[in-house]
Amino acid sequence: MLHPIPHERGPESPVVELRTLTAGYGGQPVLRDISLSILPGDFVGLLGPSGSGKTTLLRTVLGAVDIYAGDVLVDGVSVRRRRPRTGYVPQLETIDWNFPATVEEVVMMGRTADSPLLPWFRPRDRQLAREIMERLGILGLAQRHIRKLSGGQQQRVFLARALASSPRLLLLDEPTAGVDIKTRDDVLHLLHDLNHQGVTILMTTHEINAVAAHLPWVVCLNGRIVAEGPPAAVFTPETLQATYGAEMHVTQYEGMTMVAEAPHLYGRRERRGVPEGADGER
């Protein structure tokens, strides 16, 4: 199990800063009046239901969303002026798995922009990629086609590609979606390790207990920022109601804050008085 680590906010200048941002696509705002600062070394989870703008917020940092008001700064520079270089890990479901690419070919893509104009990579680029693959446990799969991998391995391949670009900021879109429980915990451990080594991480997730509760800092999103802070502070029935529009119960389990959907009690409102613990188990 992962445990929340103390979240320290120093006086450093933020890596990412959203200033009263309103942004969206084709004239339609998806995010309204968002203000958010991410400092060096932060590990932030964006939590919210489908359509709450998690992915859109991630993409605003990449400069891929239309800005209608406010601004997005990465390392102090507006993304409208300079497209930032970050390590981006897309959702696995957006990948074309029939594309003829081996694990190594995908990981090396992360070095492309920093390589000279030749069909091959420099030895030091290859060495860096091999070290990253080794660390993520996929070096033995280097020549394997990307479809012939488990979900966890596929996630590692795209994480390796992001790390190969030597990013200070890592952006991940639902890195735990569609993988089994063990893989999910492995991925989270890996991200925590990277974070402890100084990589700033911003990721989206829709899993409250399995993922968000283990992160040091959570931003609850629903078109706007509902709340942000350590999970223990932001996971309140009021916040969750505002985020998900559904009634949820919050309980403590071995020092962790856990959230449960309220049991459906349509037409049986008199049973609302059941003890808290009973709601915590699903």
Binding site: D96, T112, S150, G152
Partner: protein, 286 residues
């Protein structure tokens, strides 16, 4: 067996078809993987329109047709950036309109001396020294572009949006690709014909994809297969006395059928072996 080689026109046609076949095979990899297989068919029709226009306006065929083809390709790329319009629809609109313009002009100016049958179906006998120079020039330029930009084209083809996030100038990469594609189609017209270019672009990469899972190998294989089909197709067309473009395409199609049969057979004989093996290997690392 070596009888046709005494004719200069035959040797010239053979070299032209080999180079053009290789070019189409190389570009085809990127086109097929981006699911724009129809663009070859569409652009060749668009270029036909450009060819007629440049004839009517008394411009150089190569310059007029290339500019026209390039603009069509850029127009298609721009149209597909609008998320509501798919690439297939964009190709259909832009290129058919362009082809229609060519047809309209031909029917209006009935005094054409140029043989547009050759443009439609390909005529290897009509490859002049000027055509030959154009083919060699385009081959050299395309070769340099793909040598230098190999990694960029790979990432941009795999996932253009993410490539942009990783700092690649994807707009320039797309524009450069449109340029070399237009040039390739213009020089291929004489050999393969407007109506048959599509197959020369699509079949070699599809066959190569059946044979390999690696991008690098696919690029090499597809180029080699395209060139071989061009060579074999022209050689056969001499003996069978059939149209050069049709011959090249039929050789490629036959190759596709053979490879498809062989790869299906191989999979059929060892049912599930591939799937089992990958699951076994995946367990420890997961």
């Amino acid at each position: 067996m070596f009888e046709p080689f005494q004719y200069e026109f035959f040797v010239r046609g053979l070299v032209a078809a080999t180079l053009v076949g290789g070019l189409c095979g190389l570009l085809g990899v990127y086109i097929v993987l981006r699911r724009m297989a129809y663009i070859g068919h569409g652009l060749s029709h668009a270029v036909f329109g450009g060819a007629v226009v440049s004839y009517v306006m008394a411009l150089n065929f190569y310059i007029g047709a290339s500019v026209w083809g390039f603009l069509s390709a850029v127009l298609i790329t721009l149209t597909t950036r609008k998320q509501k319009i798919g690439a297939d629809a964009a190709i259909g609109i832009v290129t058919t309109a362009s082809f229609a313009l060519g047809v309209a002009l031909i029917s209006r100016y009935k005094t054409f001396t140029r043989n547009f049958d050759a443009a439609l179906f390909g005529n290897i006998l009509g490859v002049t020294q000027g055509d030959m120079a154009a083919i060699i020039g385009v081959t050299a330029v395309v070769g340099v572009v793909f040598f230098v930009g190999y990694k960029y084209f790979l990432f941009n083809t795999f996932d253009s949006e993410v490539a942009r996030f990783y700092g690649l100038p994807t707009g320039w990469v797309d524009t450069l690709f449109s340029l070399v594609l237009a040039a390739t189609i213009v020089v291929s017209m004489q050999v393969l014909g407007v109506t048959l270019i599509a197959a020369a672009i699509v079949i070699p990469p599809v066959v190569a994809r059946l044979l390999t899972d690696s991008f690098r190998s696919m690029v090499a294989l597809s180029t080699a297969l395209g060139a071989s089909c061009g060579l074999a197709g022209i050689y056969l067309s001499y003996y069978l006395d059939i149209s050069s473009g049709a011959s090249v395409v039929l050789v490629a199609a036959a190759l596709f059928i053979v490879v498809l049969a062989l790869t299906s057979l191989r999979r059929g004989r060892r049912p599930g072996v591939g799937a089992l093996a990958s699951r076994e290997h995946s367990a420890p690392g997961a």
